[in-house]
């Protein structure tokens, strides 16, 4: 479990570290937003099927719904702004971290699955919030892109609190 936390942390540290080296541009930020949401949607879909308790399955389902909603809006915005999301090292790390998480989760069942999934959700949302505050918001130039990230940020806080609550009951 700790390893997965480290993968996520590394991916987002790259994002944070990027500030010093080179802040991501809006096209890259849009790509990071969409990728970060997609990674959590994919994990949520698996938890909807594999979660051993209703709480875990419901949480997974909500992650799919909420993060899909955010992505729909993000895609609508970049389409309107005529910005083409641009792949970048942070997105790539998020993607490979997400794939490693899914690979690990697929080997688990029952309580072990629940715990690994929820632990990862806690670590993931903490790191995403960190990246939002330290990298994405300070770097975003377009006001509408900034507004969208600001608007959905409290949802990530709610998800983190929810995941921590589930974690404390395990």
């Amino acid at each position: 479990m700790k390893n997965i936390g480290i993968v996520v942390a590394t991916a987002l540290l790259l994002a944070a570290g990027g500030v010093a080296a080179q802040a991501p541009n809006d096209a890259q930020i849009a790509h990071i937003v969409v990728t970060a949401n997609q990674v959590d949607i994919d994990a949520g879909k698996l938890a909807e099927k594999m979660g051993s308790t209703k709480d875990v399955r419901d949480f997974g389902k909500q992650m799919v719904t909420d993060h899909s909603g955010v992505n729909k809006q993000a895609v609508a915005l970049v389409t309107k702004l005529k910005v083409k999301p641009e792949d970048n090292p942070t997105s790539q790390s998020l993607k490979s971290g997400g794939e490693a998480n899914l690979k690990n989760l697929k080997t688990l069942k029952g309580n072990a699955f629940d715990k690994a999934y929820i632990d990862h959700e806690v670590a993931y949302h903490e790191q995403v919030l960190d990246a939002v505050d330290k990298t994405l918001l300070p770097s975003a130039k377009n006001e509408e892109l900034k507004a969208l990230i600001t608007k959905v940020r409290p949802a990530f806080v709610a998800h983190l609190e929810h995941a921590k609550m589930l974690q404390s009951k395990m």
Partner: protein, 119 residues
């Protein structure tokens, strides 16, 4: 047999019934006594906030919560009222019949808090 005038009057009354509160459907509208009809109030859910966060209404008045976020929310005062999921872009209407102070949350995002006061 109704006369043509009577029928026209009836039709107009029915049309009015189809659009209750149409004249008073504005954010923060209070009273509504002038129309002799209970007012309708609006709460907008946007960026995981209820706006206004605290709303005071009179008994019999209607509150409509509209969800402008891209995912569902609820308006839930445990044991009192519960919208269940209000879809993105959707809304939920509640007629406040009992006086009291009702603090409510979104069960999906419990960091969202609101208050409905019914006088």
């Amino acid at each position: 047999m109704r006369t043509r005038t009577q029928r026209l009057a009836l039709a107009l009354i029915c049309a009015g019934a189809l659009f209750p509160g149409a004249a008073t459907y504005a954010p923060g509208t209070a009273g509504g006594a002038s129309a002799g009809k209970p007012a309708t109030h609006s709460v907008v859910i946007d960026g995981l906030k209820y706006d206004p966060e605290t709303l005071t209404v009179k008994r019999g008045e209607t509150v409509i919560w509209t969800n402008k976020d891209p995912f569902p929310h609820t308006v839930t005062a445990q044991g009192k009222f519960d919208s269940h999921d209000i879809a993105a872009g959707g809304s939920w209407k509640y007629v406040a019949r009992t006086a009291g102070e009702y603090s409510y949350i979104c069960t999906l995002h419990p960091n969202m808090k609101g208050m409905l006061r019914v006088e």
